[in-house]
Amino acid sequence: MTPVSIDPRDDGVLDVILRGEIDYTNAAPVTQTVTDAVDRVRPVAVRVDLTEVTFLDSSGIGVLITGMKAAREIAAEYRVRGPNPKVLDQLRITGLAELFPVEPAGPPAAAGPPAAAG
């Protein structure tokens, strides 16, 4: 299972889909994939989908932080969606849920760009 895939949408949103277990053994290439995509695509918003993530360690948490910083550098919105209850718990206790919006799992958001990044 590929731990990350990238889907640049026509509306300027960059979808980043993470899967499975993100940990010290795979976090560096996952981070690289995400930051390269942000640099290349220069999206108006980055949306990280955690629906299929079953495990995050501190390095996996680092992927989310580095992704946020890459998005902020180009003034793109950054949000995370779909963590399972255990991962959501982790995002809360580490304080990450205070850094960016965390949306519940659900059907993919309707087409259309989010509010312009300020």
Binding site: D23, T25, F55, S58, G62, K86, Q90, G95, L99
Partner: protein, 145 residues
């Protein structure tokens, strides 16, 4: 530490040497052990995160490898990770939550969130990290698949 340990039959669950390549299968085995011993779902997830942070620390900073001991005493699950690295520097014991946007330095703090007790015995010849968590449920009966 003899004499200070809880009294009760000690049931050894897992003893293993590990390195970078065995971190993930080891984590899966710790998860299976914890589930079998009766840790609840949330406790199990955070306990596995905790153990994984400590084993990963041994690989990253503790000489590249270590040995893990997992055992049960009464209604408590214990995990001890021993490495022969240069020791954990003062100020890196994970007692204070890092700022949310900090990269790195989160491992031991995260480990502390996944157990009720975490003790460090660290020095120039290595580190011993012991964590424990009480078990809320009865163990799954032996012989279950």
């Amino acid at each position: 530490m003899t004499g200070a340990e809880p009294i009760g039959p000690r049931v050894d669950l897992l003893t293993r040497d590990f390195d970078f390549h065995s971190l993930v299968p080891l984590r899966h085995d710790v998860q299976r052990c914890g589930a079998r011993e009766g840790l609840g779902e949330r406790e199990l997830y955070l306990f596995v995160v905790a153990v994984n942070e400590v084993t990963t620390n041994a690989v990253r900073h503790g000489g590249g490898k270590g040995r893990i001991y997992l055992w049960r005493e009464d209604h408590r699950l214990f995990c001890r990770v021993v490495d022969q690295g240069p020791g954990i520097p003062p100020g890196r014991f994970g007692e204070v939550r890092p700022a949310p946007d900090t990269l790195g330095g989160r491992g031991l703090w995260l480990a502390r969130q996944g157990c009720e007790s975490l003790t460090l015995n660290t020095g120039a010849r290595g580190s011993i990290v012991t964590l424990s968590q009480s078990i809320s449920n009865d163990p799954v009966p032996a012989g279950e698949p």
